[in-house]
Subunit: 628 residues, 2 copies
Amino acid sequence: MEISLTTGKKIPCPPGSSILESLKQAGIFLTSSCGGKGTCGKCKVIIKSGRAVSKSRLKLSHEEIGSGYVLACRTYPETDLLIDVPKESMLVVEGKVVTGKSKDLQELLRSTGAAMKPLTERTVLHLPPPTLDDNISDLERLRRGLLSRGMACLRVPFRFMPGLAKTMRKKDWEITLCTIHTEDCEEIIRIASGNRKSPRYGVAVDIGTTTIVVFLVDLTNGELVDIASTYNSQIRYGDDVITRIVHATEHNKLKELNGAVISDINNLLSIIRKTHHIDIESLDCFVVAGNTTMTHLFLGLDPSAIREEPYIPTANTFPLAFAGELDIRVNPDIPIYAFPCVASYVGGDIVSGVLATQLHKKHELSIFIDIGTNGEIVIGNSEWLVSAACSAGPCFEGSGIKCGMRATDGAVEGVKIDRETLDVEIKVIGDADTKPTGICGSGMIDAVAEMFLTGIIDQKGKLQKDVSGRVRDGGDGLEFVVYSGDAERADIVLAEPDIENIVRAKAAIYAGFSTILNEVGLTFNDVQKVYIAGGFGKFLDIEKAIMLGMLPELPKERFEYMGNTSVTGAYLCLLSRKLREEAEEVAKKMTYLELSVSRSFMNEYVSGLFIPHTDIDAFPGVKKLMER
Amino acid sequence: MEISLTTGKKIPCPPGSSILESLKQAGIFLTSSCGGKGTCGKCKVIIKSGRAVSKSRLKLSHEEIGSGYVLACRTYPETDLLIDVPKESMLVVEGKVVTGKSKDLQELLRSTGAAMKPLTERTVLHLPPPTLDDNISDLERLRRGLLSRGMACLRVPFRFMPGLAKTMRKKDWEITLCTIHTEDCEEIIRIASGNRKSPRYGVAVDIGTTTIVVFLVDLTNGELVDIASTYNSQIRYGDDVITRIVHATEHNKLKELNGAVISDINNLLSIIRKTHHIDIESLDCFVVAGNTTMTHLFLGLDPSAIREEPYIPTANTFPLAFAGELDIRVNPDIPIYAFPCVASYVGGDIVSGVLATQLHKKHELSIFIDIGTNGEIVIGNSEWLVSAACSAGPCFEGSGIKCGMRATDGAVEGVKIDRETLDVEIKVIGDADTKPTGICGSGMIDAVAEMFLTGIIDQKGKLQKDVSGRVRDGGDGLEFVVYSGDAERADIVLAEPDIENIVRAKAAIYAGFSTILNEVGLTFNDVQKVYIAGGFGKFLDIEKAIMLGMLPELPKERFEYMGNTSVTGAYLCLLSRKLREEAEEVAKKMTYLELSVSRSFMNEYVSGLFIPHTDIDAFPGVKKLMER
């Protein structure tokens, strides 16, 4: 069967597949916070013609049902369909997720003290044409020219040879040579068209499990020319790394997963190139950061052993790849540097994050945490670094939360509950008149912390029925109404299972911190700085996160919210050889602690399942507040 | 139109093409010493049915004409034809052209003092399987294993990565790793199937302008397992390097020329593999030697600038290529080492030849000359090496000589003329009852020297009509009957233009020697050793070559006839790292003298157009003989 969209697009619908699944397969992603269980009501589509069976109509109003609205996740076509996908059902990736603007990034690079040495260099050579008295070969002529520029060690890949004679003559012996520094040698990449003044760009990529972010960077001055991002279309094969590894392994479909991320990157590139009229010849190099599984899938490496004890990746440091080897649609000789990883569950995105914080060069003890689809922690300083993955799960990205969503327009990103009246005040991402459509990570943290402080939930996160009128029976248990909808919009609620999810996540994060600190014989009091990265958007209320027991109770000035540090680190490595070397060192010297088999972590985790914590004395400020 | 062969094969015949050309295009090569001019009468075929126009019937008997014989080079089909190609018209490549047998080669390798270190090595590793306590990545595990074997520096190409995880597990952590030593590092090639005891082979290839020779070598002990050779099927695009470069350049058909030699090598490999039941997995590496143009065409490099002043090759030393990059049909990761060249007209075959003679390690002054389709000379010792190409032309391979042929079965390889009776005695390659079909290089040298000594030709090479009854008018000038044919076989003659050709060739060779020696301020008396390589077959009469004035008059024991030194040198480099390094050094330190623009060479050449030489005092022995 076939589903036609009102946009004109036609997609196949395999027998037994829901509309949601069919759209996913075709690369059309709908908002679906409940994961296709028919409970969040976000994946609404309108059937214009054709016949289909809907197994649930939860969250649909009578008017909607009358107008042909169905839940895509629970609706199965019986004939060919014509459907309309309302704009609000489409999954939107935030346009500008990332930390800073161009100026901030350039300032960050300067502040590291590293000289600007992009991944690839261009050298313009004016070679003397050959004569009978100077009849060395073309390659020797090139070598001699480079030697006079101080490049004594030169590595020449065979693929560079076939075009050489023609190109050198066509360019009349004025050659713009792209090289890359590897293993104390310059390796020739290609002869670029253009001259000394031609523009040249590099691309920094963060491959997240959920989102892919691309920076286009001017290699001559480090300017951030543009940002593009999209959902990682591997989502169609599963939401988290584990289901994707299963797909790659059990379905033998590594190629599909690899192709998905490659085509995402190709699409983003093509959009950016069009916008800025960028010639393919001026794209010189790529730096890619991602977690270990994402890096494997991007490079086409088999990830199966990552999933099973003892959790082994194919590699943690990756040989330089070339665009042609990965089907990235630029000049096939363009090099692609993949960030080194530490272990199966602490990847290049974390090494990149450490690089962005520069904590590895500071004397003071720091914590770095990246809360994304997973939660990874690094603790250390210029002497040592210990890392761990704490399996916090993707709830702060909206996954597994009834009304959860990512930090995009329409997300409740802040929640305040009045201590007296218990009135709720919310902050929504977007314009002044943007209506809330769900709740994102920072909103959840706020809400749960405030609910706890006002007694709406107890220390275990259980909703108290009689405290607030906003606590109601949601059909499958109690829920708290964060925002009351109207005829057009559904209520935004946090149900008891949602709160349990959030509490488990924060417990895992805090237990991660404690376990590592215990392991190295230190305490939270020794920590001078806490860097927080992740997809919380622009806003994260540190106090609330402490109140919840997710972050340790330390003076507020010790915390710094960093945004997407993975792409920031990739930006830095694109522009600096010294920082690339630092990244390799960071990855090499970072110790990895496997928490999933740690008894100490399990104990800490169980203690963290209370708000803020079983050991309330670790949170004296919160304790004081509770006593008020 | 189409030509059918009685063998069943059908080939296209483009309008205006002769039968010879059409057969050439289809890779069927006929003997054609005159180069398709209709004068040698060697390319006979029998038309069984169909109509064709013959523009010449020279050398055909009435009986033959009656039986449908035509000259393929001068016959143009008017309708589809059915033809029979008699066995004697087929071009035959000698089965075993090459110097030595396996034992000689192994002895030669031993005599160089170089340890056996094949181009690629295999290392068998028994790695401990990963555990939670030993959870480094697969690549790190491999590195650690190699480190314990002393391989500290390891280069890993990206293409090695994708299969790694699966292979290591499939092989249960017992890995046979192929590596190659490059730039002071071991570079990983692949994981081989098999274990410590599995056979492994290397291939040494000589790509001659006319002939391709392949050695299959057992890398465990240096045994020469088999030899195969074939005509270089680039012949269909021209006989010499210049016409091939023109074809590659003007017709933009580099790909065709490249494809021709690659498919020749693939065919030889496939035959050898079948004969010896050799699994593709056990083929580990290739070493290829050829002149500069052949090397360029083999590697797919543009040769156009080689042809035009100032004669510039793309490269003289070549980056390692891999079988997959060249479409050689073995494992695509197999490395292919191409011999370094010196200049456009002194190639890897000459460097390989020097290596085979080891003259670059000897204190004594030596000459090395390789007479093939061209003539290249090296003079030097352990201190210095000077080389030149003397444009001798391919006459000693039979080209441009009326009855000329290569040193294969049926070739007159020795000629003796009785001083008194002027009776002619000939020696023919083949069985006792092999009938002569032409004359090869050594036979030509003998014949012209003997004709000179007996006064049949004068010092200028002019035939003297009244001296011998064997001198006759051949229709287009005088000719000497070397062998009188019968009803079935044509006479074998040397015509005046043939003799001129031979004299020009010997003059160029001798002038090459003198010019280089003059250049370095030495004389022939300083020369302790003369190594002669080339396609003369098993036999070359040094005395006759001196008498002719091709070789300098030195004591006979100073000459050594070496056969095909190009493939011998390739064999040596396949097996020894030290000798590969020596080859690089030889190529680097060898000076190249461009004779084509040398006034001194022109003078020497003109002086050499007499037999033995204008300066008869340089040949006291010959002078004495002449006086008798």
